[in-house]
Every structure is written in structure tokens, then in C-alpha cells.
């Protein structure tokens, strides 16, 4: 399938990319690994005049330690490296597990962490060829004015479907945005708008450049639970990341986040309190925690798999993850 015509820019410096992006962003797209963008261009989901490739920029890859012990990961680091790096796997097994379950081996070597975090939202009515979308009726995320998932509504419910995002939310990660006025750090959760048609909150000229994993999250137990049709290649249809540590004081530090169910990855609020009550019983009663997770999930008919099935799956995932990390 031919790609639409565009001008390709291959900046060598991040500052140069930021300047180009600030100038051309309205009619442009950023290219990282391309594993989502290139198929989307073929489907006519975007017709950018300018493509800014981040692959030639020096210093945007790799895993390192900051002076305060935090871990820093360059946005252009390949998913494969996150899955295979032995140190990262030991310190942050949750992130390694989520990365190892992304797409397929060859796609993990092409796809990047930054690209995954900035993934476009996905929907049955959106990620289709132009002919398919034209035949079934365009949707409000692209070319149309109605949402086929929630007809009558004015909101886009396309599901945010990256696997690294829930893992990094559960690990309390931050992201660095390089922009025309310099760089700023923000909690990962603040990157996401919750709107399916404009999923990212990026200012003009801003490019996700690094991810910070706090030293305090190192060594937490983790479980990544992913449901998809095939156990390779596919994007998730319901997935959940849990990071958990039983403290010496007897308490529990735990964060759980969902993906592929809502228009943004969701950090489930109130889990620690819920778990403290659950662990007071012997054996622990996880029912309330599973229900808490269930209430945060909003699966809609954005995929060929019925939403009630995905709801059943996320409850099962919550129980399995909690049992695995509490064992």
C-alpha cells in the first residue's frame, strides 16, 4: 500500500527536532519506531506534510542511573531492550514483563518506549482501511461526526492500548518533555487527556525524551496480565499491571493500572487501603480489591471481543495479579 506524500526530516539533535516540531507540528507527525504510525499512514488515518524522524538523534536511547539513584530510560530505547536488559529485569520485573509481551519479537526490535507511551488510541471503527471506514461510515475520531461505539455521544471512546504505560504508572514513573522553552518533568498520568480523539497532553513543540523510574520503586514485585486474541503480534484488549511490596512494618505498597479498556491508562485509586482490609482476613479476601479494579475499567465495543467478556477478563486478571504478588 503506498504511503501519502510527505517531507521527511531527520534531525541529529533533539533541539533541532523540537524546533522543527514546533514549526511543523500542526501539519506533521513524529516518527519513532513506526510500528503503529506506518500502518496508520497506509490506512489514511493521517496525511502529514512533514514527518520528523527521531531515529537519527544521538543520545535518545539507553538505560542509565541518575545521581539520586533513579533510573532514566531514553524515549528511543527499543522495547526489546526493556524486555531483555538483565538489570532492568531484576529491579523492575513489571516493566520487563510488560515489554516482553508487546507485539512480536521483530516488532519489539523496531518499536520504542516513547512510541509506545505516545501510542494513538485504538478502535474497531478507526484502525481500518479507508475503504472499510468509508463503507461502514466514518467515525468522529477520523473523517466523520458520529461515534459508532456510543452513538449520540460527542465523545471518542477509542481505547488507549499501550502495554508499557500501565506498568510505568504502577511504578510511579515520570516523563520528560523537551520543548521550545526547555525540558519539564511530569508524572506519567498527566501525559494522558482521557479523550480518545486527542489522547496526549503535549504542548506545542514538545517531544517525550526520557522516562524516569524512581529508585523507591526498584525491587517491587510485579505482575503483568494481558488478554489478546493471539499471544503474539496483537495489541491488548484488556491488560493490567500491578507493582507491590510488603513493607517491613506489615503494610503494603501497591499500585495497579489498567490499559486497553479506557481512552487513557488508568491508575486505580484506593487500592492500598482496600488491600490493607483484605489482608486483615485469613485467608486474604480479595473480593473488594477486584471490585475496585472492575469499577475503574470502562470496556466498550471498541473491539471485536465483546465488552462484557473484557470486563470478566479484567476481574480475573486483578485476582491473578494480586495472588501472584501476595504469594
Amino acid at each position: 500500500m503506498p504511503l501519502p506524500a510527505f517531507q521527511l526530516h531527520r534531525p541529529r539533535e533533539l533541539a533541532e527536532a523540537v524546533a522543527l516540531w514546533a514549526e511543523r507540528g500542526a501539519a506533521g507527525k513524529l516518527l519513532a519506531g513506526g510500528t503503529d504510525l506506518i500502518p496508520s499512514l497506509k490506512q489514511g488515518l493521517f496525511a502529514p506534510d512533514h514527518l520528523i524522524d527521531l531515529g537519527a538523534i544521538a543520545g535518545m536511547t539507553g538505560i542509565s542511573r541518575a545521581a539520586n539513584g533513579d533510573w532514566l530510560i531514553g524515549a528511543m530505547t527499543r522495547i526489546h531492550e526493556l524486555a531483555e536488559d538483565p538489570t532492568l529485569g531484576r529491579e523492575f520485573p513489571l516493566l520487563a514483563a510488560a515489554a516482553a509481551q508487546i507485539a512480536s519479537p521483530v516488532l519489539r526490535r523496531m518499536g520504542t518506549l516513547g512510541g509506545n507511551l505516545c501510542l494513538d488510541t485504538r478502535c474497531l471503527w478507526y484502525n481500518q482501511s479507508y475503504l472499510w471506514r468509508q463503507s461502514c461510515g466514518f467515525c468522529l475520531k477520523k473523517d466523520g461526526s458520529v461515534c459508532h461505539v456510543a452513538p449520540g455521544g460527542r465523545r471518542c471512546w477509542a481505547a488507549f492500548s499501550a502495554d508499557t504505560a500501565p506498568a510505568l504508572l504502577a511504578l510511579d514513573a515520570g516523563v520528560e518533555l523537551a520543548g521550545p522553552a526547555g525540558a519539564r518533568w511530569l508524572p506519567l498520568a498527566d501525559l494522558y487527556s482521557g479523550a480518545g480523539d486527542h489522547p496526549l497532553r503535549l504542548g506545542r513543540g514538545e517531544i517525550l525524551s526520557r522516562v524516569r523510574l524512581p529508585a523507591a520503586a526498584a525491587g517491587m514485585r510485579g505482575s503483568y496480565q494481558k488478554f489478546r486474541i493471539r499471544n503474539s503480534i496483537d495489541y491488548p484488549l484488556a491488560a493490567l499491571a500491578l507493582a507491590l511490596r510488603r513493607e517491613a512494618t506489615g503494610g503494603v505498597t501497591a499500585r495497579l493500572a489498567l490499559t486497553a479498556l479506557n481512552p487513557a491508562p488508568v491508575l486505580v485509586a484506593g487500592l492500598e487501603r482496600c488491600l490493607a482490609a483484605a489482608l486483615a482476613a485469613d485467608p486474604p479476601d480479595l473480593t473488594a480489591a477486584v471490585q475496585l479494579v472492575n469499577r475503574a475499567a470502562k470496556p466498550l465495543s471498541t473491539s471485536t471481543v465483546p465488552s462484557d467478556y473484557r470486563r470478566d477478563m479484567v476481574q480475573l486478571q486483578a485476582r491473578r495479579a494480586l495472588e501472584a504478588c501476595l504469594a
Partner: protein
């Protein structure tokens, strides 16, 4: 824009529209049609090639971002006109059925064996999990990779005195391997 890379060891310098995919360059410009266009949306693995030794999907890579890279396609892995053990095993064990996914399967398997010369069955399955065979002949494909490994191990054991021993059981066509005979190796092709 001008893009320069090597394909199977040969330097290539091309004037390309920036929207040209690597797959298009290989198949249309260089007439290396061994690399197949399957799904064209990065979900089948038929167009797997090696870029700087790493597997990549040629249908999902802009040729221009491969500037300076070393690209290897299915046409470029035979040495001195002789198919590799992996290629011979795919022929011998019925790993190639309709043949359309085969170049991608062989390249994905080669990437694995280059990295890990002694993979477990699980590692072979995992490494090929991004490559789809619509004949669904996965059993023979996995058996082909195992046979190539066994052949390599056998050749290593046989030592330098019998450099062609590895090919002795080889034959063209499909079906299971015949009993090993000390016949001449099949004519080299490719």
C-alpha cells in the same frame, strides 16, 4: 532524497521519494522479490529482513531511515552459492509449503540462531511468533529449525574432514527426511 545502504553486501545508492518503504526498494527497485509482501500492515512477518543483523519488517520501515545500514535479505544468506543449513532444512522437512511465509520464517530463524546457537524449543517458538503461516504448517517449520540445528551439531561433530556431510541427507522438495545416505549434495541454487 539520496539514501545509501548495503544490500547483501553490495553498496546501493538510491534517489528515493521519502515515502518509499524498504520493501518497495527491495522488490521494485532492486528486483529482490524473495522478500514478500504479506499483510502490508506489520502483522505477518513475511517481509522480515535483517537490518544491521536485527530482524525488521521491510513493509514498516521507510527506506530513508535505513540510510547507512547493512541490509540482508533471503537472497543474501547463502554462502558461495550454497544454501544455508536452515534453508536446506526448510526444503527437506516440508517447512516450506506454499512458500510465501518462508523467506520471513527463515530470516526470523536466522536472527535467532545468529544470536543463540543452541535455542530451546520454547525459544524457537517465541522467535517465530511474529511470523504467520497461512498453510498453518507450524509443526514442520519448527521441525525445520530443529533439523538445521541438528545438522549444524552433526557437522561440528564430523569435523573439518567431511565438510559436506551436513548436506548428505538433503534433497529438494517436500516431505520428511529420507534416511541419510552418502550421496552427493544437491545442486546448489540461488
Amino acid at each position: 532524497m539520496t539514501t545509501a545502504f548495503t544490500v547483501n553486501g553490495q553498496p546501493r545508492r538510491l534517489e528515493l521519494d521519502p515515502a518509499t518503504l524498504l520493501l518497495e526498494v527491495l522488490r521494485e527497485h532492486l528486483r529482490l522479490t524473495g522478500t514478500k509482501c504479506g499483510c502490508d500492515d506489520s502483522s505477518c512477518g513475511a517481509c522480515t529482513v535483517l537490518v544491521n543483523g536485527q530482524p525488521a519488517l521491510a513493509c514498516t520501515l521507510l527506506a530513508a531511515v535505513c540510510d547507512g545500514a547493512r541490509i540482508t535479505t533471503i537472497e543474501g544468506i547463502a554462502a558461495d552459492g550454497r544454501l544455508t543449513a536452515l534453508q536446506r532444512a526448510f526444503g527437506r522437512m516440508g517447512g516450506a509449503q506454499c512458500g510465501f511465509c518462508t523467506p520471513g520464517m527463515v530470516m526470523a530463524a536466522k536472527a535467532l540462531l545468529d544470536d543463540n546457537p543452541d535455542p530451546s524449543d520454547g525459544e524457537i517458538q517465541a522467535a517465530l511468533s511474529g511470523n504467520i503461516c497461512r498453510c498453518t504448517g507450524y509443526v514442520q517449520i519448527l521441525a525445520s529449525v530443529r533439523a538445521a540445528l541438528a545438522e549444524a551439531a552433526g557437522a561440528a561433530a564430523a569435523g573439518a574432514a567431511q565438510p559436506d556431510a551436513a548436506a548428505a541427507g538433503g534433497r529438494r522438495g517436500f516431505g520428511p527426511a529420507p534416511p541419510r545416505q552418502a550421496t552427493k549434495p544437491p545442486a546448489a541454487h540461488g
